[in-house]
């Protein structure tokens, strides 16, 4: 019985993106070695494998599509040029994430120094229009509107969080990273990661209480947790 619960939790642990992306199985060590020899085709494989995840992190922190694309692009440029410094102590994707995270932080500092109002919220985020590509596939217009509203609400709630809190939530819930990996990327201790996750979730719970309460999607997961009671 416990094993069933474990399985459910582990399924949940894998991220939305990880679940839905077309995972390209490549021998990373080989691809990196080829990239180091200047093989752009090999490096392209790495880019295509991780670009969506890196974009998701940048977008979550910057909340502007254009800026997120720029930083994603620069992350991969920087990674390519610094590839010789990659010693393989951590996985390639953790290393790239760390570059992306630092670049976002630097970018935001730069904007702030210039007197900018941090980063403006993407209009698409505010209006929920960013989801058009997917939403238009929905058949039911009511459902479409509902998803749009939910997307807008969640976007706004995430916007209420500070950068470090938003970063850990994204890395955990979107990328499905472990606490250790998040700690490595953000350069803080595992304890700090746990504490930030806890705070971020509590805050989101407060802000999205009505959505969460009416959420039908987690019934199965909770049911997987509940049989424990009946068995004891």
């Amino acid at each position: 019985m416990f094993e069933t619960v474990e399985k459910e939790v582990k399924v949940k642990r894998s991220s939305t993106l990880a679940q839905e992306e077309n995972v390209v199985e490549i021998d990373e060590a080989d691809v990196i070695a080829r990239s180091l020899r200047g093989d752009r085709t090999a490096y392209r494989l790495l880019v295509e494998k991780y670009q969506d995840r890196i974009f998701a992190l940048c977008y979550s922190l910057l909340r502007s599509r254009e800026d997120a694309e720029d930083i994603t692009q620069e992350t991969f440029v920087k990674a390519y040029l610094s590839l010789k410094n990659f010693e393989g102590a951590s996985s390639f994707y953790t290393w790239v994430y760390r570059i992306a995270y630092n670049m976002v932080i630097d970018f935001k500092r730069k904007v702030k120094r210039k007197g900018g109002d941090a980063v403006q919220l993407d209009e698409a985020v505010q209006s929920g229009a960013g989801a058009e590509g997917i939403i238009s596939e929905a058949v039911d217009p009511e459902r479409e509107l509902e998803r749009k509203q939910i997307s807008q609400r969640i976007g706004q709630a995430l916007g209420e969080l500070s950068d470090p809190h938003r970063a850990v939530i994204t890395l955990r819930e979107v990328d499905g990273m472990s606490y250790d990996e998040i700690a490595e990327i953000t350069g803080v201790s595992k304890g700090t990661v746990m504490s930030r996750l806890h705070y971020a979730r509590k805050r989101l719970q407060e802000l999205l209480s009505d959505l969460i309460l009416s959420s039908p999607g987690t019934g199965g997961d909770l049911a997987a947790l509940l049989p424990e009671r009946s068995s004891d």
Partner: protein, 279 residues
């Protein structure tokens, strides 16, 4: 079966302590060890508040995951690779002139790695050794007779800008504003003649560069290229800016004439020093 009660606190979760919440979060994140997981399961069985909390966390995970999926839907259409490839080309082209980038984050990683590069090279006690070396260098520097100030007026007559480089490289005691102020009041004709002469002589050197004031009205400097060692000096006269770029020794061309090593290069084209990325 699992009716949540919004009227009781935020989620009806008031019965859970912070530690219990952390226990459940660790479990739901799949980070719990054997005993922690067992405690979490017991808690879930025993407490309706725990189950409500678990429900809300799972719902939150789902919502946030879906939001990201929707929010980045458009990005799938973006041809990021062609942009990246273009930028890599630009960077590699720029590296021919300015040397490869050494990124600050690399330094950060080294700083965070627990063992510094100095310790890796020299082993334990590296900092003491380095401190002793610095102290010895300073002592040598201080007891050495200074002969350079006599040269400065000559250089100023011959080449009104080269003194800036000499002063800055050969003395650590004078600050940059002193150096820059020597440019004030230079006759423009003299300056242009000197510029042409120096450009012809020093075209290929990679020594520190000085950007003439008339070229730098809208100057952007890619500071990362200089490994964070770039000094940006604004002269007292508006619009006259000197940009110093310290290059790693490994980047210096072997064919360079050592006699020219400390001379400045006067740029004819702004693009020579500005990042081709045009950020």
């Amino acid at each position: 079966m699992n009716q949540l009660d919004p009227s009781a606190g935020t989620f009806g979760l008031c019965s859970l302590s912070e530690r219990e919440e952390e226990l459940l979060l660790t479990y739901l994140d799949g980070e719990a060890g054997f005993f922690t997981a067992r405690r979490a399961r017991r808690l879930l069985v025993a407490s309706s508040g725990a189950r409500q909390f678990a429900h809300s966390i799972l719902a939150l995970k789902e919502q946030v995951g879906e939001w990201h999926h929707l929010a980045q839907a458009k990005n799938a259409k973006c041809d990021l690779w062609s942009r990246i490839e273009r930028r890599i080309d630009q960077e590699e082209h720029a590296a021919l002139f300015l040397g490869g980038r050494e990124f600050v984050s690399r330094l950060r990683e080294q700083a965070n790695s627990g063992k510094s590069w100095l310790e890796k090279i020299l082993g334990p006690g590296a900092w003491s050794t380095a401190g002793a070396l610095v102290a010895a260098s300073l002592t040598m520097f201080m007891i050495q007779p200074t002969t350079e100030p006599a040269k400065a007026p000559q250089l100023r007559e011959e080449n009104p800008v080269s003194n800036v480089t000499d002063v800055s490289f050969e003395t650590g005691s004078r600050n940059f504003s002193d150096s820059v102020s020597t440019q004030r009041g230079i006759d423009r004709q003299v300056y242009r003649r000197a510029k042409l002469r120096e450009s012809a002589r020093l075209e290929s050197t990679t020594a520190p560069r000085i950007l003439p004031s008339e070229l730098n009205q809208l100057t952007q400097v890619d500071w990362m290229r200089s490994d964070g060692q770039l000094l940006f000096v604004q002269a007292p006269r508006p619009g006259s800016t000197i940009i110093w770029v310290k290059r790693p020794k490994s980047q210096v061309q072997p064919s360079r004439d050592p006699a020219l090593g400390r001379r400045p290069v006067i740029l004819d084209r702004e693009q020579d020093i500005i990042s081709p990325a045009g950020r």
